[in-house]
């Protein structure tokens, strides 16, 4: 053999050696160094899970009556993994199914197939797709007739991968009642899982609460889904069951909401909105498109009724809704029925806000309780003249009459006094006191109440600092608009004013704020909580609709209590003196008898359940006034605060006040209504859950006292009482 051959053989040997050395090194790396990591991947590789939804907990009212429950429904589901095994990918089966359940094949395909990319979804207009595991059967039809279910189950050979079985679905025995409080159920989105409140314990096949207590107490209600862990091969075929976990049913949720009170509140709202619509007032036809009613237990801060109109049927979300249909039912044209006016609607409060302005004026020293104030028909505020409602003057009157008659000009005077005092402080480089804004915030306005419902809004209370802040962010826009030739000269003038002067808290704004107009925006719930604080002597609550979470065994898992946000009359530096609140309460007690709500309460059995309240008629640019009535009662020892607000409905006394009257009737069983509670008092305890699953009513507190006449201790001399009413 030549030397060259020998040498090249040596090279070949070396090459073989190095190739095998490489393989050894790589094998060592994969198995020894990175082995642990691959072991984990392999462990999860051949696994799949099939979830079995747990029965969701019920929602009960304060007496244990079911508000939202479950019923069995025949549901047809399709398993993508099973369909995929078939030669045509299950197309023939889906076609047969399509005929049976009358859903287009393309739609069925979209629903069963794993979700494609967002782009593809948009292009093909796919709204529902399978975002879960392919092993998890996807429900494609609910409430199918029994004969359809039989057909599927008896002809299994025609429907491989399809199953029909009875499952528990949500049932709403009271239809659209309190739907804003309950919310509805919807499928969880793939991008929600693992984030925020869905961080742990959620599966792509889960239904989750959307809106209402279904959302807030989702974790309590949902229970723990059963989970079957199966071994799966690469083709998605189940090769064995590794582990089975039985589902644990969800907990029941007891609300403080009372079915009877809620029903009467919704009926009152409906009745009086309908009344407003069919009865034009002097400003024309009233649209009354939406409204809200709130009943709160002032002693506990628990909500007894929370109504919003228009409302919706949560069951509508159980079946597929085409986008068009969805827009038609729940869109802007349908007046956004999903929005809870009570907690998400912002409205100018009108004169109901005088609770705050009165307290602020008294506490700031602008209005001594025993003082006499001039109520002219109109008052010059700065450069303009601001008039009373209908230009009516009352002459010199007490603070009591000011409230009873709702005289605006008195409040304009308070506003001017305070505004000038604050301007003087500013000129001395001191902080303005801004007593109205401070009082409003102390009564809970401007921030969400923090109740246990989602997406609550906080409203708007503007002071000099916040006005300047928003001006700084918006001034560029106005300053540009000012010279924009497409704007009319009038628009340009407004833009100029906003650009140059927008940072100012003007005297006119201050005057408007004192009568609940201008920039002040509140939710009906905030108003109810403020009047509850007035009624209970100064405790401002963060309210709750839920009372307790009760396990399937009837044991109380957790009690839910309203939080005390603030004690207005307590502490070293109380916001308001107890006697101020007493004075306001006593003044408002006369509103239904001789004040602005007299017409609405004519013939009301004032002797049995005396109530006090304040009307509000808030002007809205280009629309009918917002009608408000905020009340509390019984006057001597208040238990409830009831607030009604109806948009575009005219004066407070004409729509909201009679609606409130009807709600009081419903609570106490007055004027031919059936009482919600035999003693007029809500139950202290929880419904009693028997071992056999039945629920019994909680014991009601005995009626401890006969209804008392109005407390007259702080009443001033009533010499200036006159007949007639304002809004």
């Amino acid at each position: 053999m030549s030397h060259r051959s020998r040498l090249r053989l040596a090279v070949l040997q070396l090459l073989v050696l190095s190739l095998f050395g490489t393989l050894f090194a790589r094998l060592w790396y994969l198995q020894v160094m990175a082995g642990e990591q691959y072991e984990t991947i392999a462990a999860n590789n051949g696994r799949g899970t099939i979830a079995e939804r747990a029965t969701r907990g019920r929602i009960l009212d304060d007496m244990g009556r079911p508000l939202v429950t479950n019923r069995t429904s025949l549901v047809v589901s399709a398993s993508y993994a099973e369909l995929l095994k078939q030669e045509d990918g299950g197309l023939a089966v889906l076609k047969r199914l399509s005929k049976l359940i009358k859903v287009p094949v393309t739609q069925l395909k979209h629903e069963v197939e794993p979700c494609p990319s967002t782009k593809e979804r948009r292009e093909k207009g796919i709204t529902v797709c399978n975002n879960g595991s392919p092993l998890q059967p996807v429900p494609v039809a609910q409430d199918v007739p029994p004969e359809v279910a039989y057909k599927i189950m008896e002809h299994r050979e025609d429907f491989p991968g399809i199953e029909a079985k009875a499952v528990a679905v949500r049932s709403y025995p009271h239809k659209d009642l309190a739907s804003h409080v309950f919310g509805y159920l919807g499928r969880i989105n793939a991008d929600e899982i693992g984030k925020g409140k869905y961080k742990k314990g959620y599966d792509p096949s889960d239904l989750v609460g959307r809106g209402g207590v279904e959302e807030v107490y989702d974790r309590d209600l949902k229970g723990v889904a059963g989970l079957q862990t199966v071994a799966v091969n690469s083709k998605g075929r189940v090769t064995g069951v590794l582990d089975t976990r039985e589902p644990v049913p969800g907990n029941d949720l007891v609300l403080s909401l009372d079915l009877v009170v809620q029903r009467s509140a919704e009926k009152a709202l409906d009745d009086w909105m309908a009344f407003a619509r069919r009865t034009p007032d002097k400003n024309g036809v009233r649209k009354a498109p939406s409204g809200a009613a709130v009943v709160v237990d002032v002693k506990t801060g628990r909500l007894v009724a929370l109504a919003s109109s228009p409302t919706f049927d949560p069951a509508r979300f159980q079946t597929r809704i085409p986008q068009k249909e969805f827009t038609r039912l729940f869109g802007e044209k349908a007046n956004d029925p999903l929005v809870s006016r009570a907690v998400q609607g912002l409205f100018a409060p009108g004169s109901t806000f005088k609770l705050v302005s009165t307290a602020a004026a008294v506490e700031a020293g602008n209005a001594p309780l025993g003082g006499i104030f001039n109520c002219p028909g109109a008052l010059k505020v700065g450069n303009s003249s601001k008039s009373n409602f209908e230009g009516r003057g009352e002459g010199p009157i007490s603070l009591y009459t000011t409230l009873v008659k709702s005289c605006d000009t008195v409040y304009y005077q308070f506003a001017m006094d305070q505004w000038y005092a604050d301007q003087a402080l500013i000129e001395q480089d001191k902080k303005p006191r801004e007593v109205l804004q401070k009082m409003a915030r102390d009564f809970g306005f401007g921030t969400p109440t923090g109740l246990d419902l989602p997406d609550e809004r906080g409203g708007l209370i503007r002071d000099r600092a916040s006005i300047r802040k928003s001006w700084e962010t918006n001034k560029d826009y106005y300053c540009k608009l000012m010279t924009n030739p497409t704007q009319t000269p009038y628009q340009q003038a407004i833009a100029r004013e906003n650009c140059e002067e927008g940072w100012r808290y003007r005297l006119g704004s201050a005057a408007n704020d004192y009568v609940g107009q201008g920039d002040v925006l509140v939710t009906p719930l905030q108003m109810a909580m403020a009047y509850a604080a007035l009624a209970n002597g100064g405790t401002l609550y963060s309210p709750r609709v839920a009372k307790a979470v009760v396990g399937p065994d009837g044991k109380v898992v957790r009690e839910i209590k309203p939080k005390v946000v603030r004690e207005l009359t307590k502490g070293p530096n109380p916001t308001v003196q107890p006697r101020t609140l007493d004075y306001i309460r006593n003044s408002l007690a006369a509103v239904p008898t001789e004040g602005t709500a007299r017409g609405a309460f004519l013939g009301y059995p004032y002797g049995s359940v005396p109530i006090g309240g304040k009307t509000g008629t808030a002007e809205v640019q280009g629309k009918h006034d917002t009608s408000w009535f905020a009340s509390f009662g019984p006057v001597g020892d208040p238990r409830y605060a009831v607030v009604v607000m109806v948009e575009q409905a005219g004066t407070g006394g004409s729509v909201a006040a009679p609606a409130v009257r009807q709600i009081w009737d419903g609570i106490y069983g007055l004027e031919g209504h059936k009482a919600a509670y035999s003693g007029g008092l809500p139950p202290n305890g929880l419904p009693r859950f028997a071992a056999d699953g039945t629920i019994r009513k909680p014991r009601l507190p005995a009626r401890t006292r006969p209804s008392s006449p109005p407390d007259t201790r702080a009443l001033p001399a009533q010499t200036d009482r006159r007949r007639g009413s304002y809004a």
Binding site: L12, Q13, L27, W28, L30, V32, G35
Partner: protein, 405 residues
């Protein structure tokens, strides 16, 4: 064997005059120290049989679940594999015992026969399996892959041309090299038409190895290397491959990028091997194997079964056994009695080395996926027969070598 014995052996005559004595009993003849049986390379044979034995178990493990699910005999592949090994051993024995000088005479016949086979697969007789027209189905579940036998023909044919020495020339002339290339071009062209990229690459590497060892001028060796690299680049650059081929070739660099498709196999193979760790999950206990996450697991990806179920110990043993076969092969090449023997051994080593490296490298994610079986271990009759014929050739060379090494 000790050095002292080796020393002594050198002094003994190479061919014993009594070896051909008719009167001696078969037993005496068989175990005579000069008998071919005594001179057989038992180490290589042991390694080859051990590898095919391990292969039998791995093939069984890989096919058991699927066969059972399909309602078949879970041992069907095991039985066929063992049958293949036995036939392979018989073919190997023929290759080992046929007269050394006759081997050269047979070379053209083997070459022509395999070429006819390669033409046949391209005719309607051939069947397409896994995108390549590489098989002739002969019924009864049997099929022949002529390209495997073409490898044997290539090795013997090249050795024949390059091993013929004229006068006292030490190294082959340019003409010989050209003749070799021309001879190889025919089966390579036919394989290209199937198309079977893996076998093509084995051919290229084997030609390179044999040419280099033959002492061919450096320009030829270097030129071939450059040509190989350039054509590889050209194939990819001008998209001359089918999409699936190109995807397989390029996806190994980044298998996770396309985890459900082309890179899927590589990824699952790595997971299987990696998760086996040092001692493996135990035979039949591989979750990746039982879950059928790796395609072609009894053939191209059989090494993953070893990695997962037998761990580093088992997979390393396979590497070691292959390494020993190749090492012995190069020793046989060095010690061969003539250039023909050296080149046959070098050809077999080049072929096995490259094919093993590409196959195992592909399961480990460092080589592209090219559909080559692992010698002796993978299931497959034609490959098994060709492999054992190659071992037979090695033994044949060894028996006629001038060394006891």
């Amino acid at each position: 064997m000790t050095g002292a014995q080796q020393q002594a052996d050198w002094s003994t005559p190479r061919v014993s005059p009594v070896a051909l004595n008719d009167r001696e009993s078969f037993r005496e003849k068989a175990f005579h120290r000069e008998s071919p049986l005594r001179r057989l390379d038992w180490v290589v044979l042991f390694c080859a049989v051990a590898l095919s034995g391990i292969g039998a178990v791995l093939v069984w493990s890989a096919t058991r679940a699927a066969m059972e699910a399909a309602g078949g005999d879970p041992r069907a592949f095991l039985k066929r594999h063992v049958l293949n090994v036995l036939i392979g051993l018989a073919l190997g024995a023929i290759a080992a015992l046929v007269d050394y000088r006759m081997l050269r005479a047979y070379a053209p016949i083997v070459y022509i026969a395999s070429t006819i086979g390669l033409v046949a697969v391209l005719s309607p007789l051939g069947s397409v399996i896994n995108n390549a027209r590489s098989w002739i189905v002969i019924g009864g579940g049997f099929q022949v892959q002529p390209s495997e036998f073409a490898k044997v023909a290539l090795v013997v044919g090249m050795a024949m041309i390059l091993g013929e020495k004229r006068d006292n020339e030490a190294d082959p002339r340019d003409g010989d090299v050209l003749l070799v290339l021309a001879m190889a071009a025919v089966p390579m062209g036919l394989i290209m038409l199937q198309p079977d990229l893996g076998t093509m690459m084995v051919f290229v590497f084997t030609i390179l190895g044999v040419l280099a060892v033959s002492g061919a001028p450096r320009r030829w060796v270097a030129g071939l290397v450059i040509l190989g690299v350039l054509s590889g680049w050209g194939i990819l650059h001008f998209h001359m491959l089918e999409d699936y081929q190109e995807a397989r070739l390029t996806s190994f660099a980044n298998p996770e990028a396309d985890a459900r498709d082309t890179g899927y196999n590589v990824n699952q193979a790595k997971i299987a091997i990696g998760s086996g760790r040092v001692t493996g999950k135990g035979l039949f206990q591989g979750t990746q194997t039982n879950g059928e996450f790796i395609p072609e697991q009894q053939t191209d990806f059989v090494f993953t079964v070893a990695g997962e179920e037998l761990g580093f110990v088992g997979a390393g043993t396979i590497l070691l056994l292959l390494g020993v076969v190749l090492w012995r092969g190069t020793r046989i090449a060095v010690n061969a009695g003539d250039m023909f023997g050296t080149l046959v051994a070098a050809g077999v080593v080049s072929w096995f080395a490259f094919q093993s490296f590409v196959n195992i490298g592909m399961t480990l994610g460092i080589m592209p996926v090219t559909g080559l079986p692992l010698p002796f271990v993978s299931y497959g009759g034609s490959a098994m027969f060709a492999n054992f014929m190659a071992i037979g050739l090695l033994c044949n060379v060894k028996m006629r070598s001038n060394s006891w090494d």
